[in-house]
Structure formats: structure tokens, C-alpha cells
Symmetry: C2
């Protein structure tokens, strides 16, 4: 039995950039993706939105830190889905990463997790996109 | 005021492989990361766990499909966090992707979203890791 035989799929609609950024700002946890030699990695972070860029903090000694901050490409993703009616939304910010200098005024993301997360990283967007999944 | 001055951070503990896979199996939505020429991309999918590999369906005409299925590296990620006590967990499966042949018996992930998602993709894990964030 194929999927289409027993159930109506949910509809996809594109969100505006403004809507995407509002949703990013509304959440306290998102996900950062970067690539190392073996491929893409996705890890959760506590973030803040600063204008149109996303700020988060990592440990300077982490694997994470080795692959961020020097113009490397990275993505930031947030989403929220509901099982009961198969609906939700997701936002993807693609961009490049920069380290935030300590003396540079910046919004501060407070990491929930323990550890020496002193390195402030900014993802500067090259694209912002998002979609809603609406119940059938 | 720095973060450490006003709040106790949550503790991080590693999860076992079994615990990670149980959590992956318990959810109906996860995220797949792949890399294109511009860097990493993260997109939500409906998935199923089949043994230790993750199965999901994509449209054969999608950007997604171009970067999956031929041994390319990809990651699968799930997480769940609670704002009120700054706790949660996340799991990351790193691996390589294979297309699932139509005549090969396989678990079937039912995509919630509309569209011709006929391409069945498997991520075969090279590593499975996860962490819990426990309230302070």
C-alpha cells in the first residue's frame, strides 16, 4: 500500500523572510550545521537573532570552533512540528560564520549547557528560507 | 554581566548508542544535513529507523535528491528541549547515504508533506552519538 492510498498529505507554503526571522527570534534553541572532513554535522545551540544574523556561543576548544568563525559556510535551522495533525514549519538560514570580537557590542546568547563557551560566533545570512506544512 | 554570574548551567551527559537509537525511533520528524557547493544544508524529514539505519523519502527532482544516495556523507539529527528548565537531549547520526531499491524490502517512512516523494533514501551510520542536558 502506498502512502497516497490512505491519507491526504499536508500542504507546503513558502514563508516570507520577515516571518522566518520572527520565528528564529521566538525560539531559544536552534541547530547549527557545519562541515568537517567527513561531511556535515548538526548540533543544537542557544541562539539570539541580532538584526538578520544569528549569534551563539561555543567553547574555543571544541570541534565546533575549529570549523566556524573564519568565513566558513554554515547553516542555522529551526523548526516545530505537531504529530497530531502533521503540520509545522521550518526555517533555514544559510550563511558564513564570523567570530564576534569581545569589544564589539553584540547581543548575547546564553548557553544553557555547562562549559567554557566563550567564543561568540555570528552566522551572516546569504539566504533565509522557510516553509509551513499546513494540515490537509 | 556575564552568563555565569546569574545562573547555573545545565549538565551534559553522553547517551549510549541504544538510548540514541530509541530516541530516533520514538520521533516522526528529524533533520537531514547534506552539503552542496555552498556548504551544509539542513532540512526536516519524516523518518523511520530500520535496524540502525534511518530511512526517509524525498522527491527525485529535488535539490535534496541530487546530494543523497550515492554514498555521499550526510547526517541525521533529532532533539527535544524544554525552555522552562533548560533541559533536553540531542542525537546525531553521521553516515553515508544509499538509495533503497523499490524491490528491496524496507521500512517505509510516510512523508507528511505533499509532493512526489518516491525516492527512498537510507543513511547508514558511521557514528551515533547523543547528549542529555540535565537541569542544574
Amino acid at each position: 500500500m502506498s502512502v497516497g492510498e490512505w491519507w491526504f498529505p499536508s500542504h507546503l507554503t513558502e514563508m516570507t523572510r520577515e516571518e522566518c526571522l520572527e520565528l528564529v527570534a521566538s525560539l531559544r534553541v536552534g541547530r547549527v550545521a557545519y562541515a568537517d572532513d567527513e561531511g556535515p554535522v548538526v548540533l543544537p545551540v542557544n541562539h539570539v537573532l541580532d538584526g538578520e544574523s544569528v549569534l551563539f556561543r561555543v567553547s574555543p576548544n571544541s570541534e565546533f570552533a575549529k570549523h566556524l568563525g573564519d568565513g566558513q559556510p554554515a547553516s542555522f535551522q529551526v523548526d516545530d512540528f505537531e504529530d497530531f495533525n502533521m503540520s509545522g514549519w521550518s526555517v533555514l538560514i544559510r550563511g558564513t560564520t564570523q567570530l564576534v570580537a569581545e569589544d564589539e557590542p553584540h547581543a548575547d546568547a546564553n548557553p544553557w549547557a555547562e562549559g567554557d563557551r566563550t567564543l561568540n560566533v555570528r552566522i551572516v545570512p546569504t539566504s533565509v528560507s522557510g516553509r509551513r506544512l499546513l494540515p490537509a
